[in-house]
């Protein structure tokens, strides 16, 4: 994800990548070289750089809190990839520290910036289908859970890695969740869970099922359907037929297994420029610490439920 944000910073005229720090020196060197940025040998040196306005933290979730805290205590705005942290305790600590330091704490729940999901959200909140009642959402990738993602303790499996996108979107669109029931599995029988089915009950009375999968053989698919008391909305990424190319060579444009949507601008760039406007005080954050904590709380409840086969009340 660090590389992706670096590309966005290249594309956007609103901000520049000033420098890179990584726990792995080679990663930092590579990323810095690709982007004509400097390498900070230590985290401390990065957060003490007076030229820096903000730090984007794209380490694995279990390693979000430490660099985020360093940034916050160094007086830098902290922009953290999702999930905000690996535990509620860490997330709440970041929230308190950011408030105390008077800096922004933003989280990369980028799905809010994808045009289809924004449109779906807008349709629901504007009352097109009345009051939502029963919802399905699905996110399937073909990217196997490798590296730190293969470790449940680090990555939380598909519930934390993928499902949290849907949890955030659902909280944004339908309001607070009251109960969570989740079942998850690892297809190979080892490593992190790569398939999960999570059932949510909302305080509004609505019910939702979220499917999170890393089991596709190829491609990527997202699906959303919201039935309300005045109609039904559906979205299926498989119907994104704006452009397809038939050729012997590998066809569809993909970035690390994620889709390119033929919309005006990349959602990641939109998100980045939103962050810049927040930093300049021109806009309120779409996803502030409260929203990020709420999504994390649902995801952790789902992990609890999946481990215990019990429903978890929030």
């Amino acid at each position: 994800m660090g590389a992706r944000h670096a590309v966005c910073l290249q594309v956007s005229e609103q901000a520049t990548l000033a420098g890179v720090w990584s726990r792995t020196a080679e990663h930092a060197a590579l990323l810095a070289a690709d982007n004509a940025a400097q390498v900070y040998p230590t985290l401390q040196q990065m957060v003490c750089d007076p030229e820096l306005d903000a730090v984007i933290i794209a380490t694995p979730p279990g390693h979000h809190a430490e660099p985020a805290l360093a940034a916050i205590r160094g007086g830098k705005h902290a922009i953290v990839e999702k999930p905000l942290a690996r535990s509620m305790a860490e997330a709440e600590l970041l929230l308190r520290e950011a408030k105390r330091a008077g800096v922004l704490l933003l989280t990369g729940h980028v799905v809010r910036f994808f045009p289809a999901f924004r449109a779906l959200h807008d349709q629901v909140v504007s009352g097109t289908i009345g009051r939502p009642a029963v919802i399905h959402m699905s996110r399937e990738t073909a990217t196997p859970l490798t590296g730190w993602r293969a470790d449940m303790a680090q990555g939380g499996g598909v519930i934390l890695d993928l499902g949290i996108h849907e949890f955030d979107w659902l909280l944004w669109t339908l309001g607070p969740v009251s109960r969570v029931y989740s079942r998850a599995l690892s297809r190979s029988g080892r490593g992190a869970d790569d398939y999960a089915l999570t059932t949510l009950r909302f305080e509004s009375g609505a019910i939702a099922e979220v499917e999170s999968s890393a089991l596709r053989a190829s491609g990527f698919r997202t699906y959303g359907e919201i039935a309300g008391d005045q109609g039904l909305l559906t979205y299926d990424s498989e119907l994104d037929q704006a452009l397809s190319v038939d050729t012997d060579a590998p066809g569809r444009a993909v970035w690390q297994g994620l889709p390119t949507s033929y919309a005006g601008r990349s959602a990641y760039v939109e998100q980045l420029e939103h962050w810049v406007r927040c930093i300049r005080g021109q806009e309120e954050p779409e996803v502030g610490p409260d929203q990020a904590c709420a999504a994390l709380r649902v995801a952790l409840a789902a992990l609890d439920s999946a481990a215990s086969a019990k429903a978890v009340t929030l």
């Binding site: 029963v134 079942r183 599995l185 089915l197 009375g205 039935a227 039904l232 009340t313």
Partner: protein, 324 residues
């Protein structure tokens, strides 16, 4: 709901000599339908049972027991609409009565006759899917009205209406019986006392996990009645069976909604054929009273789970909310 379809299927068979229609509560409607189809009506059950070899019960769910027991008592074979009954006791009474009388008791589950479902089962048994891990199912429809939303006649709303088909398919696919059910049940589509939406999680005997959306969530404008979909995650492959996704789309020139016109197999007709074969040649029908009872138990466990807020075992339906 399916009466007309069944009547047409019966009319197409040479070996079905007479079809009689009985509707005790709506005799005028029965006369009208009968005259359209060129068949006769009778006015009482006694008259009906005197004349026929088999009955198809399409009345309200709560009436299935009385009618089936009466038919069995007269030595008449029974095909009952789903759900089999509204309680385990009623379902067991129907099974016992028909067994005692030596007559067939079948339940109207058309989906096992689906070529797509049969192909899915074949692929599984050939090893193409590997071991079954999870099944994500839907059986959605639109709110049917009539006795379906009169709780004392139906025994429940969307959950009892649309759980049973998939519960039966899950048993056939996995070759195991359901163990427990967790359900979130909703009233958010119509805001009535009857449930209109449900999301079930069913743990099966082979340790696979199935989820089911049984909601009446298709609005009146939806191009078709609903769906039966099974997405099956196996260790070797994922299969997606969409039993009714064989259609052509019709876009009217007036401002009316588009409609999907099915070209797929007539599953009702295949089911009727199977029932008649069971009656005439003493073979087991595709779906028996026992199959109907298992499916009913999944629906009843779902209701119990909705009340408890916890998973409910099918073996503890009489005391669902006890812990431990």
């Amino acid at each position: 709901m399916h009466s007309r379809s069944y009547l047409l299927a019966l009319a197409a068979r040479d070996d079905v000599r007479d079809v009689l229609l009985l509707d005790e509560s709506r005799p005028a409607l029965a006369d009208e339908v009968a005259s359209q189809l060129g068949i006769d009506t009778v006015k009482t059950a006694a008259e009906l049972l005197d004349h026929v070899d088999a009955v198809i019960i399409t009345s309200a769910n709560a009436d299935h027991r009385r009618m089936a027991v009466e038919a069995a008592g007269a030595g008449v074979h029974v095909l009952a609409e789903k759900p089999l009954a509204t309680s385990v006791a009623d379902a067991e009474a129907m099974i016992a009565a028909c067994s005692h009388a030596g007559v067939v008791l079948a339940i109207a589950f058309p989906c096992p006759f689906s070529p797509a479902f049969r192909a899915l089962c074949e692929r599984y048994s050939q090893g193409d899917l590997g071991r079954l891990l999870a099944i994500r199912a839907t059986n959605r429809g639109s709110m049917p009205g009539g006795f379906f939303i009169e709780l004392d006649r139906s025994g429940g709303g969307a959950v009892i209406d649309h759980t049973v088909h998939v519960a039966d398919l899950l048993r056939r696919l996995t070759g195991t019986d359901p163990v427990s059910v967790y359900a979130e049940i909703g009233h958010g589509l119509y805001h009535q006392t009857w449930d209109d939406s449900g999301l079930l999680t069913i743990a099966m005997g082979d340790e696979s996990i199935a989820t089911l959306d049984c909601s009446w969530s298709r609005p009146a404008s939806y191009p078709t009645w609903g769906d039966v979909n099974l997405k099956v995650i196996g260790t070797k492959a994922t299969a997606d069976a969409r039993l009714f996704d064989q259609y052509i789309a019709h876009y009217p020139s007036e401002s009316a909604p588009a409609r999907w016109i099915s070209w797929g197999s007539d599953l009702d007709a295949l089911m009727i054929d199977d029932f008649i074969d069971a009656v005439t040649s003493s073979q087991r029908p595709m779906s028996t009273g026992e199959d109907g009872l298992w499916a009913l138990k999944v629906a009843l466990a779902a209701y119990a789970s909705g009340s408890c807020g916890a998973p409910v075992g099918l073996d503890t339906l009489d005391r669902p909310c006890e812990r431990g």
